[in-house]
């Protein structure tokens, strides 16, 4: 062989050595047009027992065809344990098009009953809530997910996991008992990275059954960014909330955006609740802001000033709730440099379960690396070192005490949202929580932080555990918590074109 031919051969081999692995990686990253969440991912038993023999799905061994084996519970059967007429009944119509915000601004997006945010749904602790939604014109189909409410799995509203997307002209009914008083919200979980930021959401408040007659007045402050415009309850800038001097106000702040906002006030405030759960013996806070991560809620208690002026509760740099008599003004308040650390806020109280000897210990280690996601090159998120769809399936049995270590080594913040459960924060970077029990459904995990959280697996089903920067979820930053013996007849993709993220 001549020298020049040899050169060409070596060059070809060298090129193939680069191209072939890349082509293989590209090809193997392509997702089928339709698949079950039962067939994707990496089984993680967390040190607990393996699923019972013959359990279809887990481990990607499921046969095509009949999806739910007879021995399994279908997500469809995990329904509210309540018969009869609902205490709260709501009919919603979802639409796509031009919406007019409370501020008068017109944006293209999604609405419920013609508005965004959609109607506030109010219930009292223990109420049976029934919401029927009809899709009038959302082209991709839509669902409703009850963010932060530990609903039965069948009404969790995740397209392709617990239901099919509701197509144009169709309707779907959600029934659940509002067991835990608190501030929640609801939003679409079909193509959610477009529909939620586009406005397909609303808030939901569950009032306590034994509310004191002198309980603080409720004020709502729902933060959302429409096409780059920051709003609070759909209004822009300073938003008035009329209250007589001396009135105690419970400001229910919800962050429906993709990134965290800081919340602070011109006067001392008390953080009454986080993610719907009251804190134990919270104390007044001054000179600190509280971080509200994407999807999270916080209830702040403030008092309208006695002198007839107004109090400013600032939600991010652009919007504020101005609490005081009609027409009153509130001075600007500089953003505090310090942040409230909920790890040490309030007083400790016994937890309802023992966390020292968990049945399952899971790692949720978030990273980032170059690769292909469904054929698209880029830098993508990893969970425990692997990219979607090789994300963990955390397997649990009902009654298990679960400890999860969430570590973020990805150079960006992540608001981690576990469906169907509330977890209690045990520690951050090894530092033990010493304050009030801090229950979360949406946890802000900053760069290089490690949180240890614990929860009881007490709500059987298939539950997403994902980043609520919904674009990150669409880029594969999601996993599932799966109860042994539960299966789903629904498919990602499929005839209903389900795309939960």
């Amino acid at each position: 062989m001549s020298r020049s031919r040899l050169r060409v051969l070596v060059a070809c081999l060298a090129a193939l050595a680069i191209v072939v692995p890349l082509a293989w990686m590209w090809q193997s990253s392509l997702l089928p047009s339709s698949y079950s969440v039962m067939d994707m991912g990496v089984v993680d038993l967390g040190g607990g027992p393996a699923p019972v023999e013959g359990h279809a799905g887990h481990g990607g061994q499921a046969a095509a065809g009949a999806r739910v084996a007879p021995t399994e519970t279908s997500v469809d059967d995990l329904v509210a344990d309540a018969e009869g007429p609902p205490d709260v009944s709501e009919e919603l119509v979802a639409a796509h098009g031009t919406i007019t915000l409370e501020s008068g601004r017109k944006v293209t997006g999604y609405s419920l009953n013609g508005t965004s945010p959609g109607p506030l749904i109010e219930a009292t602790e223990g109420d049976l809530v029934e919401v029927t939604v009809r899709n009038e014109s959302v082209p991709d189909g839509m669902t409703l997910h009850w963010h932060g409410i530990d609903v039965p799995n069948s009404v969790d509203g995740v397209a392709g996991v617990t239901q099919d997307a509701v197509k144009v002209g169709e309707e779907h009914t959600y029934r659940f008992v509002a067991e835990d008083p608190g501030t929640y919200w609801y939003h679409s979980h079909q193509v959610s990275h477009e529909q939620v930021i586009g406005g397909l959401f609303g808030s939901l408040v569950v009032h306590p059954a034994d509310a004191r007659p002198d309980a603080p007045v409720d004020a709502l402050a729902v933060a959302h960014t429409y096409s780059g415009t920051r709003t609070l309850n759909g209004e822009e800038g300073d938003v008035a909330f009329v209250a007589e001097p001396g009135t105690e106000v419970r400001v229910r702040v919800a962050n429906t955006d993709n990134g965290p906002v800081e919340v602070w006030s011109g006067a001392p405030y008390v953080v009454r609740a986080v993610d719907g759960f009251d804190l134990n013996e919270p104390t007044p806070v001054t000179g600190r802001s509280v971080t509200l991560t994407a999807g999270a809620r916080v209830d702040l208690e403030v008092t309208a000033p006695e002198d007839g002026s107004a109090l400013r509760v600032q939600v991010g740099g652009a919007t504020a709730l101005i609490i005081g008599p009609a027409g009153s003004k509130a001075a600007e308040v500089e953003q505090p440099r310090e942040k409230l650390d909920l790890l040490h806020y309030g007083s400790p109280a016994p937890l309802p379960f023992e966390t020292s000897d968990p049945d399952r210990v899971f790692d949720y280690d978030i990273g980032r690396r170059p690769g292909f996601l469904d054929g698209r090159p880029g830098l993508w998120w990893t969970v425990n070192g692997r990219m979607y769809p090789e994300v963990p399936m955390y397997i649990v049995r009902e009654g298990d005490v679960v400890l999860m270590r969430v570590h973020n080594a990805s150079n960006e913040d992540h608001p981690m949202h576990l469906h169907g459960h509330h977890a209690v924060v045990l520690s951050r970077d090894g530092e033990k929580a010493t304050g009030s029990p801090w229950w979360v459904d949406s946890l802000h995990v900053d760069q290089d932080e490690t949180y240890e959280i614990a929860f009881v697996a007490d709500n059987p089903g298939l539950w997403m555990d994902h980043c609520h920067q919904l674009k990150h979820a669409a880029e594969g930053l999601m996993a599932h918590l799966m109860y042994d013996g539960v299966d789903t007849p629904y498919l990602i993709g499929g005839a209903a074109d389900n795309h939960p993220e």
Partner: protein, 153 residues
């Protein structure tokens, strides 16, 4: 292949210019937006829906820097095997290495601003390397042509 190699090296250099231009375009636009009363915080950044002149600079910088340039640098390495130019593979490998370093510095700059300084410095190193690679490939091309030219009679 030699001219393809040269052109691709020059394109890498040109895209580095696009990177620096788009970043200054974006930060200038952001400055004006804030001067005019606009607010930027984490929620606004994550919404990726900000509307000010220059916002496209962030998007261009991200796509160009994390996808286009790395793919081009990889393609340059593959082409270098066939370029038959002294130092072609070495230069292409250096460029690819600098690109990987640049992406890493860009990402780590999200958690430490001082790393951003290095990102800016490395951009110039990468630019110089790409320019040098293009020029030396060009020279080699000329030399080869001269070699092949029929000898004067």
């Amino acid at each position: 292949m030699k001219s393809a190699y040269k052109v691709m090296a020059y394109i890498v250099a040109a895209l580095v210019i696009v990177q620096s231009a788009s970043m200054v375009f974006a930060s200038a636009g952001l400055g004006i937006y804030i001067e005019d009363g606009g607010v930027l915080d984490a929620a606004a950044m994550e919404s990726e829906d900000l509307s000010f002149t220059g916002v496209a600079g962030f998007i261009v910088h991200g796509i160009n820097g994390m996808i286009v340039i790395p793919l081009l640098a990889l393609a340059l390495l593959i082409v270098s095997f066939f370029a038959r130019t002294p130092g072609a593979v070495r230069n292409a490998a250096i460029i690819l290495g600098l690109v990987v370093l640049q992406v890493a510095l860009g990402l780590f700059g999200h958690e430490n601003a001082y790393i951003g300084l290095l990102h800016g410095v490395n951009a110039l190193v990468l630019f110089a390397a790409a320019l040098h690679t293009g020029r030396s490939a060009g020279k080699a091309e000329v030399t080869t042509r001269e070699d092949r030219a029929p000898a004067a009679v």
